[in-house]
């Protein structure tokens, strides 16, 4: 990837809304039209579609072809990826591979979900057998289990979590596409005083499920030049790990797959964590950000909270964090939420982030998290390094 032969040439994101009443197809159409308008490309320039599976259209085993039909796309390659919040970053890598293999030239990496309007998800087997009777149906219970264990091994500094919450909220205040319900100022005291959901997870540790869509356009750098596209960023490193330590029936759940995917992506890019100028981690819970700092190698294990306290994570700071607000303060567009942080990173590297523009950043690290397996750390881990052209 380091050869810069692949380019992201456009991005688009809808407003993130609570209970929009819209379908995944409607939202996706808005995202595709946005990226065509931005790039000036014709719909016929798109010959590949990498889609993320959604909750809203779950149960439809033809999500990709039906989407392509709604969007009027005639394609040489398509696939639907079902790694939840890891799908979008994963799809940038899959699109890159398909382009390099000659399967297609220009791929729309598309994610759309209206989970807060309609959720047709129906995950059975061990979930209905072993999890639902226990009362862990929602992710807060799982992240409560993760957080308690983390606290037991390393201690958990509430001030660090509060700082993450406030930093991201301040970024959402500068992002007009963030969910309006969340675009209200927040203090550390607000975070600390928010109701306990499942100890030690508070209400303001959690994402709010919303509706929304996002898209990036991936092509070869050669093709981008032929199309006379001026703006581009290059994916220069990617790592992925599904089911970290799966053969271990009693794993240390404070460790996870980003400890493999993160260093792999950085090594491909020829970078170390110190070289990263912006961090756009997947954030479904604040503790996930703390753990990713450790897993990827920004700091040692158990030092995540201290790293947060010692680092200026504002968009004006030394390591800007989720400058669009992250999902926790912009809203989680269902299973399309993994695209929010990616689109923000591309937007920043294009220099189009408006009031929250990070100055002089030439690279970004974006991550994805998806699927919570039985009694373990999260299952899907992705890490993607982007560099400005």
């Amino acid at each position: 990837m380091r050869d810069r032969e692949i380019a992201i040439v456009g991005y688009s994101e809808t407003k993130i809304e609570l209970k929009s009443g819209r379908s995944v197809f409607d939202l996706a159409g808005e995202a595709m039209a946005g990226v065509l308008e931005q790039t000036g490309l014709d719909r016929s320039d798109i010959d590949g579609l990498a889609m993320s599976a959604s909750f809203s259209d779950a149960g439809n085993p033809f999500q990709g072809p039906m989407m392509a039909g709604y969007l009027g796309l005639e394609l040489d390659w398509t696939q639907t990826t079902d790694m939840g919040g890891g799908s979008v970053t994963g799809n940038v890598a899959r699109a890159s591979a398909a382009i390099r293999a000659g399967l297609c030239e220009t791929v729309l990496v598309l994610a759309s979900d209206a989970e807060s309007t309609e959720n047709k998800g129906n995950v059975g087997l061990w979930r209905t057998e072993w999890q639902f009777p226990v009362g862990t149906m929602g992710p807060p219970g799982y992240f409560g289990l993760l957080s308690t264990r983390y606290r037991e091994q390393f201690g958990l500094d509430d001030r660090a979590l509060a700082k993450l919450a406030v930093t991201q909220r301040n970024h959402a205040l500068l992002n007009p596409l963030a969910c309006d319900k969340l675009r209200k100022p927040m203090t550390a005291e607000d975070y600390l005083g928010s109701p306990m959901i499942s100890t030690p997870i508070r209400m303001l540790d959690c994402v709010m499920v919303c509706d929304g869509a996002n898209a990036v356009l991936v092509t070869s750098t050669r093709r981008a030049r032929e199309l006379r596209l001026e703006k581009m960023v290059h994916p220069v490193g990617y790592g992925e790990r599904l089911n970290f330590d799966e053969g271990n029936p009693t794993p240390d759940i404070t460790l996870g797959g980003h400890s493999v995917a993160g260093p792999k992506a950085l090594a491909q890019a020829g970078l170390t964590p110190k070289d990263i100028q912006m961090f756009h981690p997947y954030d479904d819970f604040l503790i996930a950000i703390v753990m990713q700092f450790e897993h990827i190698g920004f700091c040692a294990r158990g030092q995540g909270c201290r790293f947060v306290m010692d680092t200026d994570l504002r968009y004006t700071g030394t390591l800007p964090l989720n400058t669009g607000g992250g999902q926790i303060s912009a809203g989680q567009a269902g299973l399309a939420g993994g695209g929010h942080n990616l689109v923000e990173a591309v937007r920043q590297l294009f220099g189009e982030a408006g009031d929250r523009q990070v100055k002089n950043a030439t690279n970004a690290l974006v991550t994805g998290i998806g699927w919570i397996p039985y009694a373990r750390n999260w299952a899907a881990n992705t890490a993607l390094v982007l560099e400005a052209a």
Binding site: G124, L125, W126, T128, E129, W130, Q131, F132, P133, V134, G135, T136, M137, G138, P140, G141, G144, L145, L146, S147, T148, R149, E152, P195, M196, I197, S198, T199, P200, I201, E246, G247, P249, T250, I253, Y374, A375
Partner: protein, 141 residues
Amino acid sequence: MSDVARDPQAGIRPAPKPSSMTTEFWEGAKQGKLMLQYCRDSGKFQFYPRPVSIYTGKRNLEWREASGRGSVYTYTVTHRGPAPFRGIAPYVIVTVDLDEGVRMMSNLVNCEPEDVRVGLRVRVAWTATGEHQFPVFEPDR
């Protein structure tokens, strides 16, 4: 530590939906036996039940009765649960490392939420959910 009988979720747990891979577990549960899959090639147990050994990928598996004893690996006290657990008193979710070397997720009953600790020794207890007996854990005093 309290000795009071405590299980805010009693009677409202949704019944588990067994699959073809778990018949032996639920048959054993009816007799108060905690049955686990055992891989004959590696000499190790596994949970949840799977079509193959997680150690070898092969199907050389059998069912063995477990001791039902273990210790709390981690826990969370749920104050705002999903349906059908909305509005009930806080309940405790635990993952337990059984002495056989597998981890199970369940509830801790007969224990006040403030008394749960990582490392707490526990033993299996059974509670009726639909037509099945579901495994929960209680302090092993």
